[in-house]
């Protein structure tokens, strides 16, 4: 009797799930019916990399509000539909499918992390919906297809910048690399850094791996210490990077640590505290340097979000939405295919993070900045042009 009950309840559950699934299939491409252009956004608003998603989302939101306040584009308002992927693998494809098929988004904005952009890109590509990633730097993201764009530089550039920085500015000859093997971003950046650094005449003395979300790095760091490096490159995300810097100090590994744009978050300082002092990372922009346009953005962002200073992810989120609006205007249409063509033809777009040119791989070509953590703050060191 009990078994029968189990089968009954299981089939009931199955039926309910199927019903929910069916009701989820709306009619796509209805975006113009209400006179609005529907733009989907997916971001890691919660979870391990929540500050990335939140910053990018706030930047995007600010851009959309400014566009709409100025009367929208081609006479229509933009409606932003945002979904949270909780920093989880597998969640991005679910929410992007929903944004396209249920909400009828004509374009998709997102994500910061390369692994999650790579999850969504094939869906956007096969549905013929243009996708603009604000800050995914792994080259594979736009290699997915001709509908995928980004408004940031890519890791071969960032890796080379950091390699030259380590060799020339830090005067490091022997560098150890600690890679997050769970993240496409980290693996890619580590690879390009190693290539660049050995080409510049440096030596990689130790290569160790960890899994993003690990809490204990002392095993790896002890081995790195044994290899006696001049500096350690940690191309990971901010939570892991902060814990790595803390534990490095604990085992007496007192050399400069440096990383990429994955480090840029207030959480890095909040978790790492004094263990972060004197370390370096490369990123897309710094609020204190830049064009008048950049300064205006910083002002507007502070006003909108209670005095919060926008980080690079916020600036790139803003740029991605502004670029999309610009492309819609140039295409004079909210049709996905025409938006794509306009995006691909982008030249000299005046973005907050610098002049943006779309190259033939749909990657933005722009400069990088290097910051140092000094006195509990990110301080500007230098700008490096492509």
């Amino acid at each position: 009797m009990r078994r029968l009950n189990f089968i009954q309840s299981a089939s009931a559950l199955f039926a309910i799930t199927a019903l929910i699934g069916l009701s989820g299939c709306g009619k796509p491409g209805d975006s113009n019916a209400s006179g609005e252009i529907i733009v989907g956004e997916f971001a890691s608003l919660t979870g391990k990399e929540a500050t990335f998603g939140t910053s990018a989302h706030e930047g995007t939101l600010l851009a959309v509000e400014e566009i709409n306040a100025a009367g929208g584009v081609i006479g229509k308002k933009i409606k932003l539909v945002t979904e949270d992927n909780q920093t989880k693998a597998g969640e991005s494809s679910t929410v992007v499918n929903k944004l396209i098929s249920k909400d009828g988004a004509v374009a998709i904005l997102g994500e910061v992390a390369s692994s999650r952009s790579l999850e969504a890109a094939p869906i956007c590509q096969s549905s013929g919906i243009p996708m603009i990633s604000p800050a995914s730097t792994n080259p594979k993201v736009t290699e997915t297809g001709n509908y995928i764009f980004r408004v940031c530089f890519i890791d071969p550039f960032q890796g080379t910048v950091m390699a030259n920085f380590a060799k020339n500015k830090l005067k490091a000859q022997r560098v150890a690399v600690l890679t997050d093997v769970k993240s496409d971003y980290s693996k890619g950046l580590a690879k390009f850094f190693k290539e660049g650094f050995t080409k510049a005449g440096g030596e990689i003395v130790s290569e160790l791996d960890f899994n993003g979300g690990d809490k204990d790095f002392k095993a790896q760091l002890t081995t790195i210490k044994g290899a006696n490096p001049d500096a350690v490159f940690v191309p990971g995300y901010y939570t892991d990077a902060a814990l790595i810097c803390i534990q490095a100090r604990e085992i007496g590994l007192n050399v400069p640590m440096f990383g990429g744009d994955g480090w840029e978050s207030e959480k890095l300082l909040e978790i790492g505290k004094e263990a972060m002092e004197g370390h370096y990372f490369s990123t897309h922009y710094h609020p204190e340097v830049g064009s008048p346009k950049s300064k205006a953005f910083v002002e507007a962002y502070k006003k909108r979000f209670n005095g919060k200073t926008p980080d690079a992810m916020a600036a790139l989120g803003y740029d991605s939405a502004m670029l999309l609006a610009d492309a819609i205007k140039r295409a004079d249409s909210a049709e996905s295919g025409k938006i794509r063509d306009a995006l691909a033809a982008t030249k000299d777009f005046d973005a907050v993070t610098g002049k943006t040119l779309m190259n033939e791989n749909r990657d933005a070509v722009k400069s990088a900045v290097i910051l140092q953590i000094k006195g509990g703050k990110f301080t500007y060191m230098e700008t490096i042009n492509p």
Binding site: T87, L208, K218, T222, L243, G252, K267
Partner: protein, 302 residues
């Protein structure tokens, strides 16, 4: 000197696993099921400490020894209560049902706690910075860096293991606990209050999980609602490795696993497969000793 440093790293990590593993093994000893929510009690312990620390800093001053002890004590008490409540609400009504039902319920309770805590009105999913409970000092002996946190973890784990051994072996409550794990019916007939002993078991196990959660967060001061999953899984494995239901076995299993992970993690080229290697060795051990390192060979089961 590297290998001594790695030994210290591994022991400190392993002793945290040992503390968590004790909770799994105690519950298995009396109820014969795995309490998967145990890992989340660890997380709740860390969050309890996170919220109590500012209060205790007001009374005892920031980063003081008494303040830290107060934080650990209150967090452990809160988690003991939560553990008892979980058993009372989720497992007790299912006591007479098949063990599988309780096991699935345990997974349900675990997911429930994780996702409720991730809601922005509760803790939120973002990582938070865990406060410094006691000032850190690095002690350098012959080139080996001993962090004061690691030392505290090692010493306190030793003390807690001794206290637990004393409770189980030397007190009336402990005798009842052993009787219950030996034969529940007979124990009940001899006048052992089964429900009280089970609540006691959950209380002790959860308090240990809270302490482990605080130690874990002292080493890696970033806490989030899913932080219990990884150490929880490893401690569960440690409990099986040592022989589930066996208290010294759980402690030994935890330390062995901690050392294995550290050795694998520190090897260039294989650090990628750190968990894979630790778990492969575990499978090997279980192939040759299916009941775990210390399982069955000892008479005592708790």
């Amino acid at each position: 000197m590297d290998w001594i440093q790695q030994l210290v790293n591994g022991l400190a990590l392993g002793s945290i696993y040992a503390l968590i593993a004790l909770g799994y093994t105690m519950v298995y000893g009396v109820l014969r099921f795995i309490n998967f929510a145990h890992a989340d009690v660890l997380m709740l312990g860390a969050y309890a400490a996170f919220f109590i620390a500012p209060l205790s800093a007001k009374f005892f001053g920031a980063e003081s020894l008494f303040g830290a002890l107060a934080v650990v004590f209150v967090a452990a008490a809160i988690c003991a209560l939560i553990g008892i409540l979980i058993e009372l609400l989720a497992y007790r009504p299912l006591r007479e049902r098949p063990k599988l039902t309780v096991l699935i319920t345990a997974i349900g309770v675990s997911l429930f706690i994780e996702y409720v805590c991730q809601h922005e009105k509760v803790f939120g999913a973002a990582t938070r910075s865990f406060p410094t409970l006691i000032p850190k000092h690095d002690i350098i002996v012959a080139g080996v860096h001993l962090s004061s946190n690691d030392l505290i973890v090692l010493v306190l784990t030793g003390v807690l293991l001794f206290v637990l051994w004393f409770i189980v072996q030397k007190t009336k409550m402990g005798m009842a606990l052993r009787a219950l794990s030996f034969n529940p019916q007979a124990a009940a007939l001899m006048g052992v209050s089964v429900n009280r002993i089970i609540s006691f078991t959950f209380g002790i196990g959860s308090a240990l999980a809270a302490v482990a959660g605080i130690f874990y967060s002292m080493r890696a001061p970033g806490i989030d609602p899913l932080m219990g999953v990884q150490p929880g899984l490893r401690a569960f494995v440690a409990a099986v490795l040592g022989g589930i239901g066996n208290l010294p076995g759980a402690a030994l299993g935890g330390i062995v696993l901690g050392l294995l992970e550290t050795v694998a993690g520190g090897m260039p080229g294989v650090s990628n497969y750190r968990d894979g290697i630790a778990f492969a060795i575990l499978i090997l051990i279980l192939l040759f000793r299916p009941s775990g390192l210390l399982g069955k060979t000892t008479v005592e089961k708790v």
